[in-house]
């Protein structure tokens, strides 16, 4: 789970990490008012709040926002107002969102801190080594560097320190970081800055904590100018305070359902909506669909432990996507029992009716029982015997339906 920048900064502040003062605003008027409350003179930074990175070099969907990105320096209260007006209720598209972008429901207004050097900083879990890595890289003042791009093409520009399972920074690592940053301030400041971030990382079961960028001002003071924390969904039960920050009604309904059931949901194109019980199968379907020249609207992985409610929720969710013209449910049951999936399909059909074609393929645990359940229901559901035939059936059904 991902939270807004201003919420992450709230956590930073609580742990004593140095962040600029800022206030949240839901309307342009509010933005102008809080700006003047923050500092009488300015300048201010207006930051679009979406749960995705790359905001600075992102673009807004509605043209009223012009070509500028989601983070803007504003010199007068009027500029704050105008920038907020252009952003709020607009959709911001970045490299980390789909091509439909994400709705900006609020902006964060911050005092502008002049810094002279900027660094990308992150703590991430390295799956292969089962350790925590600290990553640091210099970034340009305008902040349009793509860190992943940098890691791919200029890996030597990134300082990588394997912290293992250590919960505080050791002296040797600290020296390497200070040298890398050419940091002239007191080492104790740097040490405490990093240790506080490690505290947050471990305390909240984060899988990633990212600051892009950390800034250093003329007094050699370190500032977290940005804040991003990704929490481990599987550990959220230990953190009721974070759980409360989950996407609520103002975010699209689909995102809420995805979060509630722990689905893996990806929007692609227009055409067949796929429901599967594993990533491997999903990728295989997409490969097969390319061969069959069939378009995929979206892919929803319900993962293991499927029950009637989960499958029903997944079908309902996928039906709310206007790009879906037909549904292909491809279940290869091991842990998942096919008969429970069949029960879920029938529950939705009885509940909502079927207004788009549905093709189902079952394989594995309790397959025969599941096929019998669907056949007995006499619903207009087609049963396929392979992924390939499922795609072809769905494609044909959609062509007929349109």
């Amino acid at each position: 789970m991902n939270i807004y920048e201003y919420q992450a900064k709230g956590i930073f502040k609580k742990f004593g990490v140095n962040v600029p003062s800022g206030l949240i605003a839901y309307t342009p008027m509010e933005a102008q008012n809080v700006a003047q409350k923050l500092s009488p003179e300015g300048p201010w930074i207006v930051k679009a709040q979406v749960r995705a990175g790359g905001r600075n070099i992102g673009k807004f969907m509605d043209k009223r926002a012009g070509k500028k990105g989601g983070i803007r320096l504003s010199k007068t209260p009027e500029e704050v107002y105008n920038n907020a007006e252009e952003m709020i209720e607009n959709r911001l598209i970045t490299a980390q969102t789909s091509n439909r972008g994400m709705l900006v429901s609020r902006v964060y207004i911050e005092e502008y801190i002049k810094t002279f050097q900027k660094f990308y900083f992150s703590l991430v879990v390295n799956g292969a080594t089962a350790s925590v890595m600290l990553l640091l890289a210099p970034v340009t003042p305008n902040g349009d560097d793509d860190i992943v791009e940098m890691a791919t093409h200029m890996p030597s520009q990134i300082l990588k320190i394997d912290l293992g399972f250590e919960k505080s920074i050791h002296a040797e690592a600290l020296s390497r970081i200070a040298d890398f940053m050419q940091f002239h301030g007191k080492k104790s400041q740097l040490k405490s800055f990093i240790n506080k971030l490690l505290d947050i990382f471990y305390n909240y079961d984060a899988t990633k904590l990212e600051i892009n960028p950390i800034g250093i001002d003329k007094n050699d003071t370190l500032w977290a100018l940005d804040a991003k924390i990704i929490f481990d969904d599987n550990a959220l039960y230990r953190h009721p305070d974070i759980l409360r920050l989950r996407p609520m009604a103002e975010i699209e309904e689909r995102e809420v359902v995805v979060a509630k059931f722990g689905f893996d949901y990806k929007e692609l194109n227009t055409g067949i909506g796929i429901i599967t019980n594993g990533n491997g199968v999903a990728l295989n379907i997409i490969t097969e669909a390319q061969k069959c020249d069939a378009d995929i609207a979206c892919s929803l992985n319900i993962k293991g432990g499927v029950d009637r409610d989960k499958i029903a929720a997944s079908i309902k969710l996928i039906m709310t996507n206007p790009s879906v013209d037909g549904i292909f449910i491809d279940i290869v049951g091991g842990f998942t029992r096919c008969n429970l999936v069949a029960d879920g399909i029938i529950a939705v059909a009885n509940d909502l009716g079927l207004n788009i074609p549905i093709v189902v393929r079952f394989e594995g645990t309790n397959k025969d029982e599941a096929v019998n359940i669907l056949n007995a229901s006499q619903l207009p559901i087609q049963i396929a015997d392979s992924t390939y035939s499922g795609i072809m059936l769905a494609k044909a059904a959609i062509a007929e339906d349109l």
């Binding site: 879990v125 390295n126 799956g127 292969a128 860190i147 599987n234 290869v332 091991g334 029992r337 645990t365």
Partner: protein, 288 residues
Amino acid sequence: MAVLVDKNTKVIVQGITGTQASFHTPRAIQYGTKIVAGVVPNKKDNMHLGIPLFNTVKEAKQKTGATASMVFVPAQFAKAAISEAIDADLELVVAITSGIPVSDMLEIRQKLKNSKTILIGPNTPGIITPQEAYMGTYPDNIHKSGDIGIISRSSTLTYEVVLEINKAGFGESTVVGLGDDLIIGTGYTEIIKKFNEDKKTKAIVLIGGSQGSHEIEAAIAYRKIAKAKPIIALMIDKPLSFSENDSLASEILCGGVTSTAEKKQLLKESGITVVDSLSDLIHELSKL
């Protein structure tokens, strides 16, 4: 011959009284798996599904001579259950549980460093040696005994591969599901070594995962194996929209290399045949 699990492996089930374990345990027994004990802390009964229950893994091991455990314990308690099995020095632990917190797995991997236990999973369908035994949640109606060893990070794609290779007239020596979580107990390399020593296995199918750089580690290790058996790796390309997530970005940041294209290149350089679809996989297997 088989890898890790055969009809003589004595197996404990941790969390045997839960819904999932109660469903999958009798199926495994019927298949031929020698399930000798169940472990439930503070147990109320002495038997469940006709299997004796114990309070601890240590006690179950002592009384039954079990060497392996299947963990069905819910995610919140899985760290304690897996740790208990490691502390009891079991040879093999298969963790079926999905949704174990990453930080719990960080701790378990620390623990494994000083232990001889092999942990498979978590979030895995387990291990199956067809017509002998399985530890996990495999569909029991699709496997056929044969000489292909399968190692996979994906559960559902494994079932697809099994269906296809059986249709083509092949069968499996053993299928090992490594699990698809960010942090898993065992990577491809250890299992490749085991298949290489297994007399029944003639060729290995490696199925790539949706995250992690375990394939790269395997590719490098494979170069050093003397008289290595042929490996065919199924690496399905991720469409772009599947890659725009943070875990992938983290991998690239940590490892420097992990795009599917780069993984494929490294595998090829190590002498591993790389395919990107099920039909190509069957085609390559037929050539061996």
